[in-house]
């Protein structure tokens, strides 16, 4: 047993470089940051959205792509300025609106929120972890709550799932 618990790494492609970690939040449906999230708190306020009332602040957000308004970039940049944005965003599509919010915050405030493009298999592994726990190698490792994201400027990105140390043994 490692002092840091078990880990599993997934690789992806850097869309915006940076390094961060946080709790995994898998969006069940696409979300418009503008109108759908509160710019001052990072809360999901879209009443049509199944995760209405949950906060994105400090989370590693997994989503396919954003939806709706092109004002979402400003809302995300403002959340990053105010310190209530996601810690990192994992996408399955090259979403310009999400990336631009992060790029503007990097240009203005030297805040580098990583955005990583994942392939379908990696995204599925993360979704399954969030729903069921990780059964990789035939052994239930329980839920990985803590996700570290490292997106390098050369294009290579790693998403590391950390499993809690089991203190009962």
């Amino acid at each position: 047993m490692s002092a840091n618990g078990a880990e599993r790494a997934l690789s992806g492609t850097t869309l915006c470089a940076g390094e961060a970690s946080g709790t995994l939040l898998v969006l069940a449906e696409p979300l418009s940051f503008w109108g759908g999230t509160d710019r001052k708190t990072g809360m999901i306020i879209d009443t049509h959205h199944p995760q209405h009332g949950i906060s994105m602040a400090g989370c590693v957000l997994l989503m396919d792509a954003s939806r709706g308004s092109s004002s979402s970039s400003s809302v995300l940049a403002e959340q990053l300025r105010a310190g209530v944005g996601p810690a990192a965003i994992l996408l399955t599509a090259r979403d310009a609106i999400v990336a631009l919010g992060a790029l503007a915050a990097a240009e203005l405030y030297d805040t580098h929120m990583p955005i990583v493009l994942l392939d379908a298999a990696a995204a599925t592994a993360l979704r399954r972890n969030a729903e069921l726990g990780d059964y990789s190698a035939g052994v239930l490792k329980s839920f990985a709550r803590h996700i570290s994201v490292r997106a390098d400027a050369d294009g290579r990105a790693d998403v590391v799932l950390a499993y809690p140390t089991d203190h009962t043994h």
Partner: protein, 424 residues
């Protein structure tokens, strides 16, 4: 993946040879090109900026930094709705902590050289992009209109990149700028919808809601619609709602929109997966857009002109109001439009009839993005699918969605009046 290649001029912009403001804008364009996997940039001829609507300090910091660094736009550039109505001071009840930076944001964009149009419907202006032009437009309804109705080419640009594209005159060579990405992905067969039903803009908005849900971010081809019933106001309503309920940035209507007319027998346009659209689906969209409202309560307001009311819509409204009584004193009719269209409509004599009956005009902004309605205006009727979609989230009202005629009848009686014949 192949690397992004820049021309000498583009590299010079990035390296600061055209000043630090242009360099900052080019850093954003280049970063976006890498996000999109583009291998080169593309020159544009026009830009429409959505970043002038205030969403917090970050947006203001960005515009002021570009202005402070000496950047100006290099192509004709229009400005989207702002958070304030500069022609009717006092109408917007924004607290000073938001009104002051919102005004500073508008000033920053004028300093960058953009035209003070303050409209989400720049396509209603006389100067508009032509078929096949590459442009950089932001604001989802403007994007879908430019692509679909004008046949110009723009990707779904958002805040920050709109002004950076306007300054550098470049966008990533990607997405909807590529002809092969503009082909339809799904056919929506509308032949079951009656001509009478398709005479109402609100029915087109409901159709847009269905189109958005059916298409997601795909490209729908609507078939089975008689071209004689279509006009730009209906296509505006369709696109704005489809871009709200889905991510539609381009649609085609067979026999109507320019790329559909020029497609001919292109095999990419045939054999698509097909969905039959029914009147019942449109009534379902109408009811979904009205969810949460108690129809037995007094109607407090009617919201028209999202996207901004056109000259022709003012004319249709003036005709619809001929010989009618004033609006109920408890129900305020709000009309959003641009200052340019308002001046034309006043000149043509299309505005007085509505104002005489109690309607209030809003320019430069819109009633669902900034506090204009009074706190006691709780139940609001609208023929706009986009207003119906966003207003409950943005300003906390209950919405009833209906046709213009239903809205006007309701405004006169102060209660929701339905006319089911318009929905069959």
């Amino acid at each position: 993946m192949n690397e992004l290649t820049l021309t000498d001029v583009e590299q010079d912009m990035l390296d600061g040879g055209r000043g630090p403001g242009v360099a900052m804008a080019m850093r954003m364009v280049v970063a976006l090109a890498r996000v999109l996997g583009a291998q080169q940039l593309l020159p544009i001829t026009n830009a429409h900026i959505d970043s002038c609507l205030y969403h917090g300090q970050a947006g203001l910091d960005f515009a002021q930094k570009l202005a402070d660094l000496g950047a100006t736009v290099s192509v004709p550039t229009t400005l989207n709705t702002s958070s304030l109505d500069l022609l009717h001071p006092g109408l917007v009840r924004l607290p000073p902590e938001d009104a002051v930076p919102a005004r500073a944001l508008m000033d920053a964009y004028r300093a960058l050289g953009a035209r003070a149009t303050w409209t989400c419907a720049p396509y209603q202006s006389t100067e508009r992009p032509a078929f096949g032009e590459d442009i950089a437009w932001a604001e989802s309804n403007a994007i879908v209109f430019a692509n679909s109705v004008l046949g110009a080419r723009t990707e779904r640009y958002g805040d920050f990149i709109d002004i950076c594209a306007a300054i550098t005159g470049r966008v990533p060579h990607a997405g909807l700028h590529l002809p092969e990405r503009r082909n339809p992905t799904v056919e929506l067969d509308c032949s079951a919808l009656s001509l009478a039903m398709l005479g109402h803009e609100a029915v087109w908005a409901a159709l847009g809601d269905v189109v958005g849900r059916q298409s997601g971010t795909g490209i729908p081809l609507l078939t089975g619609i008689d071209p004689s019933v279509v006009d730009e106001d209906k296509l505006k309503a369709l696109g704005a709602t489809a871009a709200s309920s889905g991510g539609v940035a381009l649609f085609h209507v067979a026999g109507v929109t320019p790329e559909a007319r020029s497609a001919g027998n292109d095999p990419a346009w045939t054999g698509l997966p097909t969905v039959a659209i029914t009147a019942e689906m449109l009534r379902g969209a109408r009811d979904e857009l009205s969810s949460g409202a108690d129809f037995s309560l007094p109607l407090d307001a009617v919201a028209l002109g999202t996207p901004h009311f056109s000259l022709r819509e003012f004319e249709k409204l003036a005709v619809a109001l001929e010989g009618t009584v004033p609006f109920h004193p408890g129900c305020t009719v709000w009309i959003n439009t641009s200052r340019e269209v308002l001046a034309q409509a006043q000149e043509a004599g299309f505005v007085q009839a509505a104002q005489d009956r109690g309607a209030k005009i809003v320019v430069d902004t819109c009633t669902y993005i900034t506090p204009i309605l009074r706190p006691e205006e709780r139940t609001v009727m609208t023929p706009s699918g986009k207003w119906a979609w966003y207003a409950p989230m943005n300003i906390g009202v209950d919405v009833v969605f209906g046709t213009l005629h239903e809205c006007l009848s309701s405004a006169r009686t102060g209660k929701v009046v339905r006319d089911e014949r318009q929905w069959s």
